[in-house]
Amino acid sequence: MKGLLRSMGVTLSAFMRKPVTREFPETHRELPERDRAFPLLLWDFEQTEPFCTGCHACERACPVECMTVLMKDNPNHKSAGGDSTRRKIIDKFWIDYGRCMRCNICVEVCNFDAIAMNNTWSGHEMSVYDRADLVQDLPQLLSESRGGELKAWRAP
């Protein structure tokens, strides 16, 4: 009987508390900055160009081979009259998110800290009707970083 009354009290206290569930598509829980969604490229705001030099390190390290990288001479390099110190820069970059297994290896091997895991909800809500739409090109990969939507990313 005592236990019965105590359990009634316990459920009542649960009743008084705020529900822990959220109405998902409308309200999002805040993600931690170390949240690991799909990889994307970072934007160098000082030079107004991507950090990525197209060195192929991530492409070679990728265990599921979801990346395609093409490099070009940087038109903005000092030798060409620009002000960038990057001799080479990324030309084209595709990541097939349908293949990516979010292993974080590309981030670890990158010599220029040019690639990071997306830590916003846009990296999780990626459903599409066609698998081909999961292949992201360079502007798509840079858009989160350029828009400043990524939370301060720190190298582990």
Binding site: M1, K2, T11, L12, F15, P19, T21, E23
Partner: protein, 377 residues
């Protein structure tokens, strides 16, 4: 052959038809509201939100469910007894519906003021068990049959404490007319004088409604869905409707005979809207208590259920009636007999609590098989 309806004279048949239509409409709306209320409340008890998508605050969830049920195919098992199977929902639905006749909402705001209102409600409420057994038998399904028999056993066992509790209250009130019982509580609700019958009534109500912790007849883990395993669509929704309507009526009844209904406090002085508000709030509190118990307690075993009814509730109900008789027969002034009634009944309530506490905390013998295997080692 004229009857008075909303202050004007109309033919009795028109009068009856209007009253029936009002009841049916109100019952459906109330049941849909209750289902929404239950889902929200249980959701909050489990720290969820409950339905939110259909309409504002998920209010249209019951409408959506109802439409889905109505649109479903009317399935009848091949071996089912056609008449029994198809009539069973009506046998559950109609008695519930009939109970509405005597239940008071506010002064003069009920279908009929019956001189034997309490007796009538009791008599009619126990008919629905026939429908449950019919559903179980007609389905030609073992689970359904088992569930129906459990329902019958449970309903018959708990009908008696329910009656005892109501008799105790009727003794204090000195009448079986529900309106007069409510009127008699305009100064003090009966729960103060009779806490033990109030507890017995609430427990027996849970059992009568097959609500947790007494939902043995419909326990999903043991008998799938009880008597209505084979029912779907509109027939199943009729069972559901009857179940929730019965809950609403018993909550109204409980609030009328124990919590003072529309009469306490200040019911007669402050007019009909205050009375309706009182009835709604009290019935709502009663229903909230039912949901609260449901979200807290696990399902009991059959023997625990039966033992609680026959060994605890029924003897205490009898004892309460005896004590009431010994106190009331003297014709003492209201204060003296009131104090005596209240204290004895409260003592009885504590005795029930003590007995339950003792029985659940007593050391239990080791199960035979376990003891044997330990001896063999």
């Amino acid at each position: 052959m004229n009857a008075e309806l909303f202050g004007s004279q109309v033919n009795v048949w028109v009068d009856a038809l209007v009253r029936v239509l009002i009841i049916v409409g109100m019952m459906t709306v109330v049941v849909m509201g209750l289902i929404w209320f239950e889902r929200k409340i249980i959701g909050r008890f489990q720290m969820r939100l409950g339905p939110t998508r259909t309409g504002p605050f998920g209010l249209l969830q019951s409408v959506a469910d109802g439409l889905k049920l109505v649109a479903k195919e009317d399935v009848r098992p091949k071996n089912a007894d056609p008449w029994v199977f198809e009539l069973a929902p009506y046998f559950v639905f109609v008695p519930t519906f009939l109970m509405f006749v005597a239940v008071p909402f506010a002064f003069g705001f009920q279908v009929r003021v019956l001189e034997l209102g309490l007796f009538y409600v009791l008599a009619v409420s126990s008919v629905s068990i026939v429908g449950w057994v019919m559903a179980g038998w007609g389905s030609d399904n073992r689970y359904a049959m088992l569930g129906a028999l459990r329902a019958a056993a449970q309903a018959i066992s708990y009908e008696l404490p329910l009656v005892m509790a109501m008799i105790a209250v009727a003794m204090v009130a000195g009448t079986l007319n529900l309106q007069e019982i409510v009127l008699g509580q305009s100064r003090l609700p009966n729960i103060v004088l009779q806490p033990l019958p109030a507890f017995i009534f609430f427990t027996a109500t849970l059992a009568e409604l097959n609500r947790t912790p007494f939902d043995i007849p419909v326990g999903e883990s043991e008998v799938v869905g009880g008597p209505f395993v084979e029912y779907s669509g509109i027939r199943w929704s009729m069972f559901f409707l009857a179940e929730y309507a019965a809950m609403f009526i018993l909550a109204l009844l409980g609030s009328a005979i124990f919590l003072g209904g529309w009469a306490w406090p200040m019911g007669e002085q402050w007019g009909a809207s205050w009375q309706l508000l009182l009835t709604t709030v009290k019935a709502g509190a009663f229903i909230f208590l039912i949901f609260w118990v449901r979200s807290t307690l696990p399902r009991m075993r059959v023997d625990q259920l039966m033992g609680f009814s026959w060994k605890v509730l029924l003897p205490f109900g009898f004892a309460q009636i005896m004590v009431n008789g010994f106190i009331l027969v003297n014709g003492w002034p209201a204060v003296t007999s009131g104090v005596l009634l209240g204290t004895t009944s409260l003592a009885g309530l504590f005795a029930v609590g003590w007995i339950v506490q003792r029985s659940v905390s007593r050391p239990r013998p080791r199960p035979v098989m376990m003891a044997r295997s330990e001896a063999a080692q």
